[in-house]
Amino acid sequence: MTIFARAALAALAVSALASAAQAPPEVIRFREAEYVMARRALTPPEHLPWQRIALPDRWRVNWPGITGNVWYRVAFDAPHPGGEPWMVYLPRMREGGDLFVNGRLIATVREPGVGEYTRWMRPHAFLIPPGELREGRNLLHVRVYVGGEEKVMSTVTVGPESKVRPQYESRFFFTFTLAQIISAVTLTVAIFVITVWVRRRMELDYGLFGLACLFWGLHTLNYVIESVPAEWWLTWRVARYLSTGGFAAAITLFYLRFAGFRIRGMTRAFAAYWLAGPLLLAVGGASWHPFIDRFYQAGLLLMGGFMIAAAVYAVWRQRSLMSIAFLACALLGLGGSVHDYLLSQGLAVDPEGPYLLYFAAAALLGVAGAQLVERFVGSLGAAESAGRERERAVVAERQRIMQDMHDGLGSQLLTSLAAVERGALDPKGMAQVLREAVDDMRLAIDTLSPGREGLLEALGNLRYRLEPRFRAAGIELRFDRRNLPERLDVPAEHSLQILRVLQESLTNVLKHARAHRVEVSQSVTQDRARFTLAVADDGGGFEPSASKAGRGLSGMRRRAEQIGAALDVASDARGTRVVLSYPLRRPS
């Protein structure tokens, strides 16, 4: 190692020492201060009995029942003047007060005055004027009035602006700007959801979600609007409890319903509790405020308990992502509410911590919203597929009718046309063919036209139409209806086939049976599982193996088969009996 190198190292070491000496001073967060009660005008002198106290100072614990001006002081060493400006930062200073540096007033945060109700939700930070800072020991005094609303004197942070300002700004964002954003967003969502819900009365859940958003938006306004005229104070507090309670009730009901709890009177009970507190305050006046602030709000926590019970039940019933998210949110919600309640009462929890229900509420509303969106999208999908289903059904129906025309009327007319052209059909036979074609069309109109009541009416119409023919032929046509219900739900195309079988049987009686009487009995079995149609005549009967009769019969059998019905034909010299048995409850 050369001498130069050694010299260079020495120079480095010297410069390092120099920079250590000029290092910017640390930020000091005071967790302890000295206090004294004294007049408010001037910083109290040294000789007063200053006592040490830990910060944050919970007044509810340390100053029960005491009112008056309390001075807190902390001492800190500042660097030589002329450097970077210094800043004082108080995360909470809800009821205002004065700040002094070395006995000189540097800032005043407005206190609740006459005719005004003020409660600062934002943090406070002030630059110390450069001229006020001494080299060496400096004294910072904070004067606050104990015995008002506020329950805590927070810690005090002092340090160079570049170090302190970020702390202050981050707190400002989380306690104030975020509240503004949440309030604006939830109110916007609420207006949207409630408007849609009022215009289209969907399930109650949408309304509950809208109300929860509305109340949470209004509740959050509490953190945004920090000052109201005194004459509005009571109204303001009533509105606050209305919105807080309303949110708790609406979101709890929403989740209870989500979990499947639909207890009679549940909604009413929640609504009753929700209204009770604010009403008591509105009617009873300001003297009720401490009671309601403490106990009504504690009651609202109980709703969180319901919510957790519902969430556990929902998870137990169905382990879905949604139900687990719901349970997590419910736990978060209750935790946040308990924390915020204690915080607002100045008890137990870190008095400087932020309000947590914000985040929990956002999560709760988010999961609820996601759940509704999922349901909404699901029902849209269901509606769409129902539309597609209907379309398919229409196409299928058209297909069936075309097929029917092709197989039935079409082939019947074509066969007859061929017979006529061949000269094989005399006018009587032709009339017969055309009449059959017309009859078949009538059946189709009776069963397939829209606005028809169904099988029973179509049976009546068929009988009404055929009666004159039987009368002309001198055959007594009797219809016997046993234990038939008011209506039978049979698909139209099945009705058509049933009627065709009946019409064919009756036409056969007219044409061939040489009967005096024909009886059509319609009945439904005891268990309503089958509809039975029997056509019995007292004619001469026929030989089922005869080719023509055989063809007619096989046509009837085919129709019966198509609709899953059984056809039974018995014929002897005393008459013919055709029985169609149609299953009413179809296995799907």
Partner: protein, 215 residues
Amino acid sequence: MATTSVLVVEDEPEFLRLYCEAITREADFRLAGAVTTLAAALAVLEQSVPDVLVVDLGLPDGNGADLIRRAVRKRADCDVLVVTVFGDDEHVIGAIEAGATGYLLKDSPPGELARCIRELRAGGAPISPSIARRLLARMRAPADRPAAPQPSPLSEREAEILGMVAKGLSFAEVAGALDISAHTVVAHVKKIYRKLAVHSRGEAVFEAKQLGLLK
């Protein structure tokens, strides 16, 4: 024995011929006219209104309902028989509202026209189950004033008969069930038709008639 005069309005020559033959075949019927258009029919009505008007609803130059209305207004006891092709119930109801008391399907056996006219002259009227159901629905809730609390113009018995016919019971079965004669049943049906016609002409006229102000 007085003969029944019949005017036939039918634009299809085949059916016109069929109906005319069916009427001239009967000794107690007299064919008052056979025309193929609404205009011609109206001209005949100007001269005199027959006992029975047989009219096809689908005339080439207009709606048969107008013709029916004109005939019934000129002569309240004119029986109008509508002939119809298929189950066009709406048209049949329209014709009944205009004043028709009977309808005949075009494919009925040849003897049916004369039988039906006789039934009408004897105070009866035919009705099919689907027409009965539609009438029942119409009389319960008038289409023009569905919200107005309005007593049904039908008597309890009439509504009962319509209900049974709508379910598919024949006149004989209805008569048996109600322990009245089949003739009484068809007379009820004709009264129902008349009521529907008056009903559709407006409440004022109907009420006036109920109160005996109009005959």
